[in-house]
Symmetry: C2
DNA sequence: CTTGCTGCAAAAGATTTGCATATCG
DNA sequence: CGATATGCAAATCTTTTGCAGCAAG
């Protein structure tokens, strides 16, 4: 996993390069995701910020705007976990894919080097310059199979 | 790709087995997805039904209810394409993955047998019973790389 | 018949936008 | 200062629910 401060620096660089402004709020949102174990919804992020920093006066709209921005510049990514709607995660954590139980919502993360290699090969074949990828396997976990 | 009528039969079977009722509306929603090229949002499905069958009087709420039901019994699956929110696709169409250009939005579909095999292996290792999966590689396509 | 399904409209949630103000560069 | 971001509230979606009538088994 990349050092959190490095990512923050990356954000600063991107912002500067685009002639935009570096704000506390964008940093906070990114920071929450860098330290989160889970994938979070916009509202969860908003609540986290509020609870960790009750005096901060950030608005939910700003969280949404920050998330869109961060996703656009590829510092974070969003996935749909079916039941719970759109969730965000940092792109800078160690990469992993997802095994998702559609019955109970359980998520198992995994990495498979073979697949990673094949992905690069496919990208190269199509002359794509890959910035990120996401893979989800949906199914029924062992527990839920037994519940029937 | 499975024959469309076979899937319809499957739906009939599931409905009967659950002691529920077989309705025209559930069939229509499933049918749209079986014949769709793209992944569709609930609203797109609703509009398609309305336009192909202007006299039908289906409500959007019914589309949502049918989609939830069909997803629950694994005849269809939903994916998040990032920008556009939740989209549905049939689970019975020929499978493919996606290479997506984040600059111009172009989508290239592909299938890689190596990856498919690895996915099954991973599922097996975790004792998951896979119902579907989705994989997206995000990047910049050759055209957009040259535009700079 | 009985139970589940539907359409409609209203409700609830989630996300976006307009605008005046505050802040960064 | 000038341009961009922010917070707030209002406006827009999107999705879910309540309910009375309809339809399938």
């Amino acid at each position: 996993m990349t050092e959190s401060s490095e990512v923050i620096d990356e954000l600063k660089k991107i912002v500067k390069q685009k002639g935009l402004k570096y704000t506390e709020q964008r940093e906070v949102v990114l920071n929450v995701l860098l330290h989160a174990e889970d994938h979070l919804t916009a509202e969860e992020i908003y609540n986290l910020i509020k609870s960790e920093n009750p005096d901060s006066n950030i608005g939910i709209a700003t969280v949404y705007r920050a998330l869109s921005f961060l996703e656009e510049v590829n510092l974070i990514a969003s996935i749909n976990f079916g039941v719970d709607g759109k969730k965000y995660e940092s792109n800078k954590k160690e990469h992993h894919d997802h095994l998702i139980c559609t019955s109970c919502g359980k998520i198992i993360e995994f990495v498979d080097n073979e697949i990673e290699k094949r992905q690069e090969k496919i990208a190269k074949k199509n002359k794509f310059k890959i910035t990120s990828h996401s893979m989800q396997l949906y199914g029924i976990c062992p527990d839920c199979q037994n519940k029937k």
